[in-house]
């Protein structure tokens, strides 16, 4: 018997349907993955099933949970089930744990108040949960004293303490690097092995592959494809699914290595620290026109700082960056991780771009030509930055840089907030820019596959691995 069965779930805002009828069922021991881009309606589907939709959205459909039958149009009926039947795994564990309360007490509290155990019993149970999740001895720490993985496990323990058999994980790997992503997937599967149901909502193909089970692919509120995850991913029948899978960096074709043009910059013996702790030291490399330097490493290892040092925004604690002679002061530019934060938020994009064009003696024609080349609709220009999608805005940010005719672009995780298909598009444009504009690019990403298939030179800032540039350039740099 299914743990959960949802039939003809729809979500609409006023008269506009956002999610077209979707049916799904969740079996014990078999995970279900809902795959889709941002805006595909995957989170709305989960919220409709849990009865947590924002108030201006209306859901319809039937949800059968065990022997209960619920109406999705009346979310109040779901409330008693939260924590007891359905548990939601928080996206960012640090934010969902109480920062002023010891980890184990938060789990004890759920055992006592949601499941209704006695005080002593709840404490014993919480300690057992922690042992089970490999958190023995960490119970008395506060959330900020836990590592990301430990916090995630503590959050899982708290979410599960109410005795729910169904776990819904909404983008559980958002912003995590590859190693942590696998850790979370394994943890979810371990929960599943206890006979519960698991619903994973994600745009992360690697996570989907690892979780397995069955899959529903959503696009713009409609089901595109369903089937066993392995079958769908290995042999997709729909064009959209094929595009989505092809857009995974693991499946990209490697870019042709470019021959280096005139040198743009030389960095020698760079070091930087933050708050007294050394981030990196003795980094040497040089970059020439048309080349892409890929920088990888786990979060917090100083990738962005390295870029800022090269741009001259942050002084290095040792070493120096030498720009080639004759370059304009504005020849070094930066492409930001969050494009919305990089534009003046009260000005229309047209205004901002025209200001830049005027400042650098470019004409409106140049803007139009670039708009066309980057595949952007002119109507976007009339909007303000927050009314444009992330992928479009990142392309507009690239356009803004190109108006300056840069020789070096520091791209700081430019696609980490974009969907796979959009990500591929933006990275392709970036590679094209390097070639056509004769621009050196320093591309930072936490995704090693993406960097490996894009960059001409690689630099790893992983503290565990030696800081080695694997190309001969590094050796040449060191000899200078």
């Amino acid at each position: 018997m299914s743990l959960l069965k949802a039939e003809d779930i729809t979500v609409s805002q006023g008269d506009t349907p956002i999610l077209h009828p979707v049916s799904l069922h969740l079996e014990p021991g078999e995970p279900l993955v809902i795959l889709g881009e941002t805006g595909s309606g995957k989170s709305l589907l989960a919220q409709a099933i849990m009865g947590t939709l924002p108030r201006d959205l209306a859901a319809r459909g039937r949800v059968a949970l065990g022997d209960r039958l619920l109406d999705a149009a009346r979310p109040d009926g779901f409330r008693p089930l939260w924590g007891r039947q359905i548990a939601v795994l928080p996206q960012e564990p640090w934010l969902s744990l109480d920062p002023l309360m010891q980890a184990e007490r938060q789990v004890t509290e759920t055992h006592r108040l949601v499941r209704g155990l006695g005080t002593t019993e709840a404490r014993v149970q919480a300690a057992a949960d922690f042992d089970h999740l490999g958190l023995t001895g960490a119970g008395h720490r506060y959330p900020h004293e836990l590592s990301g993985g430990m916090a995630q496990r503590a959050a899982i323990a708290a979410a599960r303490a109410g005795g729910a058999r169904i776990v819904i994980a909404d983008e559980p790997t958002k912003g995590l690097d590859a190693a942590r992503r696998d850790e979370v997937a394994d943890l979810l599967l371990a929960e599943l092995a206890r006979g519960g149901g698991l619903l994973v909502i994600t745009h992360d193909l690697a996570l989907a592959r690892r979780v397995g089970g069955r899959m529903i692919v959503l696009r713009e509120g409609r089901v595109v494809e369903t089937g066993p995850t392995k079958t769908v991913m290995d042999a997709p029948t729909q064009t959209y699914t094929r595009d989505l899978i092809a857009a995974d960096p693991d499946n990209w074709a490697a870019r042709d290595r470019q021959t280096a043009g005139a040198p743009v910059l030389t960095a020698t013996g760079l070091a930087a620290d933050r708050g007294g702790a050394q981030l990196f030291s003795d980094l040497s490399f040089d970059l020439a026109e048309g080349r892409i330097l890929g920088v990888t490493g786990p979060s917090g290892c100083g990738k962005s700082t390295l870029g800022d040092v090269v741009l001259g925004l942050v002084p290095p604690s040792a070493g120096r960056v030498k720009r080639s002679e004759g370059l304009a002061p504005t020849a070094f530019q930066k492409l930001y991780q969050d494009p919305v934060a990089a534009f003046p938020r009260h000005r229309t994009l047209k205004g901002t771009l025209e200001d830049v064009a005027r400042r650098h003696g470019q004409t409106q024609d140049r803007i139009d030509a670039l708009m066309h080349r980057l595949g952007l609709a002119p109507v976007l220009l009339l909007r303000k930055p927050d009314a444009v999608s992330g992928g479009e805005l990142q392309r507009l940010a690239l356009l803004r840089l190109l108006l300056v005719r840069p020789k070096f672009i520091f791209a700081d995780e430019p696609t980490s907030r974009l969907d796979p298909i959009t990500q591929k598009h933006v990275i392709d444009l970036l590679c094209e820019t390097a070639a056509t504009e004769g621009c050196a690019i320093m591309l930072i990403s936490h995704d090693p596959a993406l960097v490996a298939r894009t960059a001409d030179q690689m630099l790893s800032l992983d503290p565990a691995a030696p800081n080695l540039d694997v190309t001969p350039t590094r050796v040449a740099g060191a000899l200078q």
């Binding site: 925004l313 990089a342 009260h346």
Partner: protein, 270 residues
Amino acid sequence: MTDTVMIPRPAGHAVRWTGAALVAAVLVLALIGPLAVPGDPFAQSLLKALSGPEAGAPLGYDHLGRSIFHRLAHALRLSPTIALAAVLTAGLAGLVLGTFAAARGGWTDRVLITLADALLALPGLLLVLIMLAIVPGTALGFWAGLSLVLWVEFFRLTRATTRETLASPAVQATRLLGFGPTYVFRTHIWPEIAPMMLTAAAFGTATAIMAIAALGFVHVGMRAPTPELGLMMVELLPYWREAPLALLSPVIATFALLLGLTLLAGSRET
């Protein structure tokens, strides 16, 4: 994607319009009233002392037989004018110094913030009284004293917002693109500060009008026979039994003006 709970918004528009209407009503009384019903706020007619409303004096007469309507209109021009002048001066000083402190940082910032904190530690009315004693002319003294008290608020707001804005990626990007400080101020800082400045200005005006009235009420502000809100109240207080309307007129006018300004300031959606 959004999992925020929608909270029904208070009717910001209604509040704002009520505030605007109250302020407008008071201003109409002050500016157009004397044109509609001509009269002299200083002319005495002891025979008419404390008598009720008539055609030439719609709000009746005070204890010296002066038209309360005309005295009130005069008072409602005087206090807001001083208050506005003080707010403009304070706003400009706060804006310039706040931006300067945030942009320069270091010693400039530390000296200015210490000065602002020191002024904040003194009671505002005391500062105004000191300035009244130093500066010749009561109106000028009020302007100087109130400016000195009010600039701190504008300074702190500007400094905090500017610091945050200057540290944002958007400003960093603009600078990398080759724009100078003027452009950064115009496109990044001013649009962030402007709405806050308006709110602070409305509150500041209310504070200033209140301060002038309070000092008038305790006989250390405007001197008789100048019609001033606080002074009118304290003059008419002994006759509240004989002429309640005479006392209530300045009280209601002050209340309406302050409430209007406060509603106007508080209704802005941030």
